[in-house]
């Protein structure tokens, strides 16, 4: 069952001579448990694709369907509700809220959805525990290392009943070891049924995906299933 469907999505910025066509009739489907990597040169529309898929931006044309719900025509509040219930977003520079502890950052989408603070906090701590950060749950973001911050961001993206995980260069600000670890976590989340889309320009990290989509000048120019990558080295059951 597909969690994300982009049908003929286009995105145009500006008008007249300043018009920039970031996406041109892009169609993409991501199924439950599938991890898709999006690659392409700078300016190819990777990040725009992700922000439209994450309902952070509306397409100029085309249709976006997430977990069976058409995004087009949704109000801002409905889109916000969809984000906090179904979509997890991981940014290159973590985007954690400085005033909240790691556990509170993770619990934030739940609390915004009306879950009582205590219940949300417990869920947040559990999510951090699964990522090996239980002991850092009370730390503020500026007390965490880069890798730890990104793991907190991933925990925030998967906490609750998330169906779609979107990651924009999640390892861009990390060293290679932490980058690999982050991809492993995303891969693990997908194994539990979450659909994932990862924007990266690193072929090594893209090899973690089930499928790689190549963008150029806002168009999908190729889609391929990569050869077995490092994941194949992980023993089944891990």
């Amino acid at each position: 069952m597909s969690v994300l469907e982009l049908n003929g999505v286009s995105k145009v910025y500006g008008d007249g001579p300043a018009e920039v066509r970031a996406l041109h009739e892009v169609s993409l489907t991501v199924d439950e448990g599938e991890l898709v990597a999006v690659m392409g040169p700078s300016g190819s529309g990777k990040s725009t694709l992700l922000t439209i898929a994450g309902t952070l931006e509306a397409p100029s044309a085309g249709e976006v369907v997430i977990a069976g719900a058409a995004v087009t025509g949704m109000s801002r509040n409905d889109r916000a509700r969809l984000r906090r219930r179904s979509i997890g977003y991981v940014f290159q520079n973590f985007n954690l809220l400085a005033g909240l502890t790691a556990a509170e950052n993770v619990a934030l989408p739940l609390e915004l959805d009306g879950v009582p603070a205590k219940v949300a906090r417990e869920a947040g701590v559990q999510a951090l525990e699964e990522l090996g950060l239980r002991e850092r749950s009370g730390s503020f973001p500026d007390e965490l290392s880069g890798g730890e911050r990104q793991r907190v961001a991933i925990a925030r993206a998967v906490v609750g009943d998330r169906r779609l995980l979107l990651a924009d260069e999640p390892s861009g600000a990390l060293d290679s070891a932490n980058g690999e670890a982050v991809m492993r976590l995303i891969r693990t989340a997908c194994r539990r049924g979450v659909a994932g889309v990862v924007v990266t320009h690193d072929a090594q990290l893209a090899s973690w995906a089930d499928r790689v989509v190549f963008l150029r000048d806002g168009r999908v120019v190729d889609q391929t299933a990569p050869a077995a990558g490092p994941e194949s080295l992980i023993a089944p059951g891990r």
């Binding site: 952070l56 977003y89 809220l97 934030l108 492993r184 049924g193």
Partner: protein, 855 residues
């Protein structure tokens, strides 16, 4: 890295809109941010506190200064009845009054001459704690007089007599033991001596204080049939004071709001990315707004409290100075507490309201734009300008229709109009900023960059400009109003470094007693000694002219119970009006002869005097006045025989239309020799001259001791000293308001320019990386500050003048008195100070050339 993975966790169900948990979560985050970044909030809190404090002081000042017009001699009485203080039927008269009007306070008066001075002291037997006049008497030290021979002096009387508590004072032949100092709290300048009830004997007049309101035709006949003088106070209109307080409070809130909008716009911009993150994880627009609104509530509450503390402290410190300025005692607790309380509450709400606007703007920004930290493009300036023009015009029309100056002004229109004008100016701010930026396109890179940044960050620069405009506008309005309300010649009777020594006890004497040669020699020697004793620089003899045909006038009773000695009736420059069979003589300005020594004193060479001129003066309001010379025995120039209304006898007069030469070197003081009769005119009119007074020029302002020394010595010579009177000038208010306005504007500039420049820290890094020196950075800060100051000064002054032109529409003449110095300080001094401040405080090398730290 060790990672545990498990099956997908159980779903955690939430609520559709997030409900209370979501609100708690975002408020908690806002509170945490406030705690973490309280230093960043200091500027906004300081701005709010400054605005609240300024408003509290303003409210107190307006409320208490407005009491100036409340007829201080009345106390709480509605009417004062004055009657002669002696006569066998005085008791019956007072009983009759009491029977007719009910409760009364009775005070007997006697005017007491002060030896050696033209001043007099009112000796009164007012009973402390009187029903109606109790509020006009307060004991400052010692005790109230209770028995015969005891007196308490006001500060003015004590200074004039140079007698302190414990001393003895001889007045009208009776010795008084000074047992205390007293004051009229409603009029600190009042000079009087208080004795125990029933001890003013004989009384010259009796004042009866009552709450009786006489109506036309409501006659009050006394048994003695004596003349009764009835003075009723005007109906004090509290509506005007309330409207003033309301208008000031409204302006204060507007000021608070503008400052808060400027501050919260910056804070919202700083949190742009963080708020974008919040939206990215599913926060609704309402949640995003709530973060900033919670911030506004906390900052507003803290700012209001801090402002209250600072404002009350400033008020307590300012009260003595304000009492001195206002001329009446002001109780430190005499604040409009309801207005202060409402102000604090409304300031907090205003801060929340001010946070709402940027919160709404941020919430409407796309999440991607917020995450990228890009500022929203500025709104088109022409829309604001159109709204501003409408508001400004509407405000002026409302003021026009509010019937200003009438007995029943329309307070709602005054308040609405007063509010609409600065809001209109605020809306004109973006356009004025753009115009200035366009005008500065050919300037150097630093100034150009500073002006363009003001346009780029229009939201906060506009709010800052609005705050500066408001502060400057209020200061300009007060300065212009004070100048308009001041007397045309607000310089008083004499400068502080001069004494006039008169031969007659009345400063407005129209008779100069003749002196023999020996007497003149003795007086001259004595005056030289006085000048030496007080370290004076010169003594200039003053002569007046008289008609030799008139001869000596006899002594007669003068004003204030003093006797005018026999002497020559002196020439004056007067208004002579023929009214039926009689002639009315008024506006009698004494004419002093323009002797060579007097001209030399003012640095006027004899050659500068037009030989055909009759009168010399710097005054320009002498048109229509004539040289008036009383003549008892007829005279050469007699042209309009008749009766002078205020001459001792019924003299014939002569009057001549003078040829007046304007000489700006001459003074404008009312008692100084400011209008001179030329020696040519003396000859042409066939007049004689006689010594009348002497002008003693000191090296500096005279002290009380010096004045007392001169007065004592003059008394021994049979002369009378006149020194500078206490002046009820509004000049201090003008200067204070200008200073406070400029200081507040500079404070606003310092805070907001700091905020604006902090937003462009990236540009500074780029400039530094490109090799820009500290001079460039200093120039940018200076130009930013000075541009806002200049625009604020121009808009504020223009707005103040526009409002005052409408206010004074029925008579624009008071506005001809322009407070040039005050306006120069505002229009030129403020931008200059702002530039200097910006220059001095900027220029530090940016700490790093990398990216700014993330939220």
């Amino acid at each position: 890295m060790t990672v545990l993975t498990s099956d997908r966790p159980a779903e955690v169900k939430g609520r559709a809109g997030g409900g209370a948990p979501a609100r708690r979560a975002v408020v908690r985050w806002g509170w945490r941010l406030f705690r973490r970044e309280w230093r960043r909030h200091l500027l906004i809190i300081s701005m709010l506190a400054l605005a609240v404090a300024a408003t509290i002081v303003g409210l107190g000042t307006a409320t208490n200064a407005a009491k100036l017009s409340a007829d201080p001699e009345f106390g709480t009485a509605a009417t004062i009845l004055s009657l002669r203080g002696s006569g066998p039927q005085l008791s019956d008269d007072l009983e009759a009054i009491r029977a007719r009007v009910g409760a009364i306070d009775v005070v007997a008066h006697q005017e007491v001459a002060v030896p050696g001075s033209v001043s007099t002291i009112d000796l009164r037997d007012q009973r402390p704690g009187g029903t109606f006049n109790g509020v006009t008497l307060r004991l400052d030290s010692g005790r109230y007089p209770t028995g015969p021979g005891e007196v308490a002096l006001s500060e003015g009387a004590s200074k004039l007599l140079n007698i302190k508590v414990g001393g003895m004072w001889t007045a009208n032949g009776q010795a008084w033991h000074v047992v205390g100092t007293v004051e009229n709290p409603l009029n600190l300048q009042e000079r009087f001596a208080l004795v125990a009830p029933g001890h003013v004997v004989p009384a010259a007049t009796v004042s009866v204080f009552t709450d009786w309101h006489p109506v036309p035709g409501d006659g009050l006949q006394l048994p003695s049939r004596a003349a009764l003088h009835i003075i009723s106070r005007g109906h004090p209109s509290t509506a005007a004071v309330d409207a003033l307080v309301l208008a000031l409070g409204t302006l204060g809130l507007l000021f608070v709001g503008l400052m808060a909008v400027a501050g919260f716009t910056v804070m919202a911009q700083r949190r742009h990315r963080a708020l974008g993150m919040l939206a990215a994880v599913g926060a609704t627009d309402r949640h995003v707004r709530l973060v900033l609104l919670a911030d506004g509530a906390v900052v507003g509450g803290v700012g209001a409290l801090a402002g209250a503390v600072v404002g009350l402290a400033a008020w307590f410190a300012f009260v003595p100075a304000l009492s001195s300025l206002a001329g009446h005692r002001i109780d430190r607790s005499a604040l409009p507490w309801w207005a202060v309380g409402a102000m604090l509450l409304l300031a907090t709400l205003t801060a929340v309201g001010a946070a709402w606007w940027p919160a709404r703007a941020i919430a409407r920004t796309s999440v991607v734009a917020a995450l990228s930290g890009r500022p929203s493009p500025p709104q088109p300036a022409h829309r604001f300008a159109a709204a501003g023009t409408l508001l400004l015009a509407g405000g002026l029309v409302l003021l026009f229709l509010s019937r200003p100056g009438s007995e029943h002004p329309r307070a709602p229109m005054i308040v609405t109009g007063t509010l609409a004008i600065p809001v209109g100016l605020l809306f004109l701010a973006p356009l004025s900023i753009r115009l200035l930026a366009a005008a500065g396109r050919h300037t150097g890179v630093a100034v150009r960059l500073a002006l363009r940044d003001l346009v780029r960050y229009q939201a906060r620069s506009g709010a800052a400009l609005g705050s500066v405009t408001l502060a400057v506008g209020i200061a300009a309005a007060i300065a212009v109003s004070a100048a308009a309300s001041d007397a045309p010649q607000p310089v008083g009777n004499l400068p502080t470094d001069q004494l006039m020594v008169h031969l007659s006890p009345n400063r407005e004497a129209e008779q100069a007693p003749p002196l023999s040669g020996d007497q003149l020699q003795a007086v001259t020697t004595g005056l030289q000694q006085i000048a030496s004793d007080i370290g004076a620089r010169s003594v200039v003899p003053l002569e007046q002219a008289y008609s030799p045909q008139a001869g000596l006038q006899p002594a007669h009773a003068g004003p204030r119970g003093r006797t005018v000695p026999a002497g020559y009736a002196t020439t004056s420059l007067s208004r002579i009006t023929v009214s039926g069979p009689g002639i009315d003589i008024s506006t009698m300005n004494p004419l002093y002869v323009a002797t060579p020594s007097l001209l030399a004193h003012y640095g006027i060479p004899a050659s500068a005097v037009d030989p055909t001129a009759d009168v010399l003066s710097a005054r320009t309001d002498l048109q229509g006045l004539k040289i008036f010379t009383p003549e008892l025995r007829g005279g050469q120039a007699s042209s309009e025989p008749g009766t002078a209304s205020n001459a001792p006898r019924a003299p014939k007069i002569s009057s001549v239309e003078p040829r007046i030469q304007t000489l700006s070197q001459l003074p404008l003081y009312t008692s100084a020799p400011s209008i001179l009769l030329t020696t040519g005119a003396v000859q042409r009119l066939g007049l004689g001259t006689v010594p009348a007074a002497w002008l003693i020029q000191a090296a500096g302002p005279l002290t009380d001791t010096q004045i007392q020394t001169a007065t004592t010595a003059a008394s021994a010579l049979g002369l009378y000293v006149e020194n500078r009177d206490e002046q009820a000038s509004l000049a201090p208010l003008r200067n204070w308001s200008t200073a406070v306005g400029v200081l507040v504007a500079l404070g606003v500039l310092g805070m907001t320019v700091g905020l604006i420049r902090s937003e462009t820290a990236g540009d500074l890094r780029t400039l530094a990386a490109a090799g820009a020196s500290s001079t460039i950075r200093r120039t940018i800060a200076g130009a930013t500050s000075a541009a806002l100051a200049l625009l604020g000064a121009i808009l504020g002054t223009a707005g103040a003048y526009a409002a005052l032109l409408v206010w004074h529409r029925s008579d624009l003449s008071p506005l001809h008195r322009v407070p040039v110095v005050n306006l120069a300080v505002i229009l030129a001094g403020l931008p200059l100070l702002a530039w200097t401040g910006g220059w001095l405080l900027a220029g530090r090398e940016p700490p790093a050339l990398g990216r700014p730290p993330l939220e």
